[in-house]
Assembly symmetry: C2
Homo-oligomer: 193 residues x 2
């Protein structure tokens, strides 16, 4: 199945480039031509791997989601305490930003209204997954005394995600990395982490 491996390679390369484009410019601000140029491949070939741009978008979100879920599972397996888990979560964001990218799904959230239905549904799943994981960690942390916060854990989880995404977004255009670092420090301090 060497061919399938090849396919996988090219498809993955397409996804890699498309992901960077979404993270830096947004889904509506790049075209198949951009990927084709970067990959030295024809426009039509892209349609072989991803029939429509919506298809590409869904694959993009699903791969991103899968990777995040794996990273979160790794954090869980590390046996770290709740405070360190939250810190590790924040680090995922800051590493993306250090690479001059926005969180892909944060970018897509801004464009939400213009996205194909299938992409919207995939995005829903992404954020739900993040919410659930964070809420569980927060709950665990509060029960164990490692974290403190008011309100429900899932409300706090949603607040954290929104703040991190917002800080990331504004860091990219105003204030840079320092702005994100300041925001995340503040959030962690607030939690007593």
């Amino acid at each position: 199945m060497d061919l399938k491996v090849n396919n996988r390679n090219t498809s993955q390369k397409i996804l890699d480039i498309a992901q960077r484009l979404v993270q830096t410019r947004g889904f509506n601000a790049f075209s198949y031509a951009d990927i084709a140029k970067a990959l030295q491949i024809t426009n039509a070939s892209l349609h072989y791997h991803f029939t429509t741009k919506a298809d590409l978008g869904v694959s993009l979100i699903e791969r991103y989601d899968r990777r995040i879920q794996e990273a979160l599972a790794d954090i869980d397996r590390s046996g770290a305490g709740a405070a360190d888990k939250i810190k590790a979560y924040v680090r995922i964001y800051s590493e993306v930003l250090r690479d001059d990218r926005m969180c892909m799904c944060g970018m897509l959230a801004a464009e939400f209204a213009t996205l194909p239905k299938a992409m919207q549904a995939a995005l829903d799943r992404y954020f739900d997954g993040n919410d659930r994981w964070l809420a569980a960690v927060l709950e665990q942390g509060r029960a164990g005394g490692a974290l403190r916060f008011s309100g429900s854990s899932s409300e706090m989880a949603q607040f954290l995600i929104a703040s991190l995404e917002g800080a990331m977004m504004l860091a990219r255009s105003h204030g840079g990395m320092a702005r994100f670092d300041a925001a995340s420090r503040r959030l962690l301090a607030e939690l007593g982490a």
Copy 2:
């Protein structure tokens, strides 16, 4: 100068529609044709009022900035205390959201990398103005004992803006108005407002 008034009317109508489009779909996701259709005017007429889309974009930001600055000046003139000023600031955001819109400049911040230089510069001015006003109110509030927070007032101001923008963005696609309200309540409580 009835004509100029007319011009102003049409130009303002164009800006009104364009602004709503930016706030709901983003700058890259609407075209002159969308405005023309909504206004029952030809595509070419739009170019009479705003030669290029970049021009339109800059006018859009400058008008938005002007209005916000006026609103902030009104708040200042109201003689309210720092806590109430912050609440009034948050209310501006929540009213925009209630109208099913994203903060226009938050949306543009997401698209920042793809915007014409002149629009980027105008956006910089917008956020700087907001930062300055918020930082001043925070400083005043802390000095007077009405607000409490750690770190510099300008850092706190940037944090607030980022969190509000992020909450707004995620509220539009996930969780709705309630998510924004929960986030803003948390931020205000944190400040002791």
